[in-house]
């Protein structure tokens, strides 16, 4: 056995190294893409995909905080994204022209984060008492409720101030010159296009710093102890509710920021089953599970791969989504099946025997 592996400083070193690899990976990717952009070697498709990629990476790492670190299954993550998106877009739409663009966008991001975080706490307090699949279904329910309510929300503004209705457009009772900001199913249109790749990467970095530091902090260890054994954690005096809420609302807040980025990337924001329904929540969960539960770097990679995959398969025309489904199943089997893992180990041993013998001293 490696004698030093148990000693604290060495372990810390390993963690720092591991985190460093994650940061470096994002940085290298960013620089590589920027180089390609500057030299003009990026197709329009790739250029258009850069911001969505950032959004999905953020969603994946934020959900990994709930699923991997807190150990609770959430199927309503898209709901938090929806809250952030609408809060941010609403603010931007109201304040467009009233303050400098950069300041406005950063404020919108903060507003998105705070409102999604508040929803996280509000939902988390009752919901986190439940466990396992019951928690999953309740989060799914909350996600659907949020989507449904956003679809019947009407907010308008005229010279008398704001008008609000949950019924229809006519209940707003606005002046003739009044402007409808949120128009039910038609959502918010004309949100300024503020999202950029650089901004996305900065936000990914911020999320990574927050999450990775949390994981390796005292609080993070408390959260993980709840995941590993709730009763044992409680018995040594860890405040279960506090730590669960901390992780859950932080994860919601980051999803909210991703939502704001989403809203400022497209000029139309509508709450469709496609973008904010349970389908999207499940898709984010797919990123997390495929990349490895609790593995932040894996989440980043799988979010990128799975977002690019359907676009790369466009050449298949009609067979595109079929092949996508098959690839997804095969990747899952390859990554998770005990037999495939065993096979991978054997292959590793066969082709890289040195590396393995270092770690395992069985032979």
């Amino acid at each position: 056995m490696n004698k030093t592996s148990g000693i604290y400083p060495h372990k810390l070193n390993k963690i720092t190294k591991n985190n460093f690899i994650t940061y470096l990976m994002v940085l290298v990717l960013y620089i590589a893409v920027q180089l390609l952009l500057v030299t003009g070697n990026v197709s329009s498709l790739m250029e258009g995909l850069l911001v969505p990629l950032c959004i999905y990476v953020m969603l994946a790492i934020s959900l990994n905080l709930t699923v991997g670190i807190l150990g609770e299954l959430s199927l309503g993550h898209a709901g938090f994204m929806c809250v952030g998106a609408f809060a941010g877009a609403f603010f931007s739409k109201c304040m467009n022209g009233a303050m400098p663009d950069g300041v406005r966008f950063i404020t919108a991001l903060l507003i998105g984060a705070v409102s999604a975080g508040i929803f996280g706490i509000l939902i988390g307090i009752p919901v986190l008492r439940l466990k396992g699949d019951y928690l999953a279904i309740v989060t799914l329910a909350f996600g659907e409720i949020i989507k449904n309510l956003v679809n019947v929300m009407y907010i308008g503004r005229d010279k008398n101030g704001f008008h609000f209705s949950m019924k229809d457009f006519f209940s707003l009772n606005m002046d003739a010159e009044g402007e409808v900001i949120v128009n039910g199913a038609q959502g918010i249109t004309g949100t300024p296009h503020d999202a950029s790749f650089t901004m996305g990467v900065i936000l990914i970095f911020l999320s990574l710093i927050i999450i990775l530091n949390l994981i390796h902090s005292r609080d993070g260890r408390a959260i993980m102890s709840i995941r590993d054994n709730r009763i044992a954690a409680e018995s040594i005096g860890i405040n279960i509710t506090k730590y669960k809420l901390m992780a859950f609302s932080l994860s919601a807040a980051i999803a909210g920021v991703a939502g704001v980025l989403y809203a400022h990337n497209l000029s139309t924001l509508t709450a469709l089953p496609k973008n904010f329904g349970y389908n999207m929540s499940i898709m984010i969960l797919v990123f997390v599970v495929l990349g490895g539960i609790g593995n932040i770097r894996g989440s980043i990679i799988s979010a990128i791969v799975l977002t690019l995959l359907p676009e790369l398969l466009r050449g298949l025309s009609d067979y595109r989504m079929l092949i996508y489904a098959i690839v997804l199943i095969v990747m899952m089997l390859f990554n998770w099946s005990p037999k495939a893992i065993e096979w991978k180990e054997r292959m590793k041993e066969k082709y890289f025997p040195k590396k393995l013998s270092k770690g395992k001293e069985v032979k």
Partner: protein, 294 residues
């Protein structure tokens, strides 16, 4: 007056949810996995019946029988190829994700084979509707058949699980796979049998769903599938009578919510009631209390 009509409509909708939920709860109870592809197996069943009855003009009985056989084979194959390799994976979530993959696969396969156009499903139910109050209140033949079939399936499933050897084996597997295999139970076969029964039920549910609501597309199964999942949780997932009760209650809540609160917010109301029920009774209406081991 109109309240009774709403109630009847709620029971009609609920009976469809109930019959789908029975299949869901069956698979969940034994294999402990949320089979997200269940709704899509329903769609496959409905398409098979549609092809045989409407396109080839053969008798409905033949269509239903074929649908049950094909769905059973489908169920076993899906389990064998996509779920079984992951049964002992490090996290139970892995198999949930492949189930989603299978769901996409079935939808897109159906899209390629049958196209995206809506098909109008001819009801296979020949029972006459019951009419009250000068025909102002109607209980459709489909509703009667769905409820009767639902109750029969419920009783048969309960008897099967409690009285037969194979059913007892299922219970043992659901309690503890390792111990069950030590007792000489073939775990693989038992789980395959569970999926076979679940998928056969899905075929029946597909026929009844499309008889009651005669519109068929490759995405027909997805939303009723999720609603039935909610119904199964509502009634206490894993409990066979719970699925039946949960399904019917969900239907009634949905209709009454639409009628008396807001038709725009029907989904929100259904889910809000679900949340309240689960907060009061965290394992659903008929769910077993889970003892937490230290």
């Amino acid at each position: 007056m109109s309240f009774i009509s709403y109630l009847i409509n709620g029971i009609s909708l609920g009976s469809v949810y109930a019959i789908i939920a029975l299949g869901y709860t069956m698979v969940y109870g034994i294999a402990k996995m949320l089979n997200f592809a269940h709704g899509d197996v329903i769609m496959v069943g409905a398409f098979i019946v549609f092809t045989i009855v409407s396109t080839l003009s053969l008798p409905p009985v033949l269509g239903i029988a074929t649908a049950i056989i094909v769905c059973t084979v489908f169920g076993i194959t899906i389990e064998r190829v996509a779920y079984k390799p992951l049964r002992n994976a490090a996290s139970p979530l892995a198999v949930l994700i492949t189930a989603i993959g299978v769901s996409y696969l079935l939808q897109n396969l159906a899209l390629l084979i049958f196209g995206a156009n809506t098909k109008s499903f001819t009801s296979v139910v020949a029972v006459k509707p019951l009419k009250f109050a000068d025909g102002n209140m109607v209980i459709s033949g489909e509703t009667i058949v769905t409820i009767v079939v639902g109750i029969i399936v419920m009783i048969l499933l309960t008897l099967f699980i409690n009285k037969t050897k194979a059913g007892q084996a299922m219970l043992a597997v659901s309690e503890d796979k390792g111990a069950a295999s030590l007792m000489g139970i073939n775990v693989n076969k038992t789980i395959a049998l569970t999926f076979a029964i679940g998928s056969a039920l899905a075929a029946v549910a597909g026929v009844l769903l499309c008889s009651a609501y005669p519109s068929l597309t490759p995405y027909t199964g997805a939303m009723p599938g999720i609603k039935a999942f909610v119904a199964a949780v509502f009634g206490g997932i894993g409990s066979v009578p719970g699925a039946m009760i949960g399904g019917i209650l969900l239907g009634i809540i949905e209709i009454l919510g639409k009628a008396y609160i807001s038709s725009q917010m029907a989904d929100a109301i259904v889910f809000a009631v679900l949340i309240i029920v689960l907060l009061v009774k965290p394992t659903g209406i008929l769910g077993k209390k889970i003892q937490e081991k230290v």
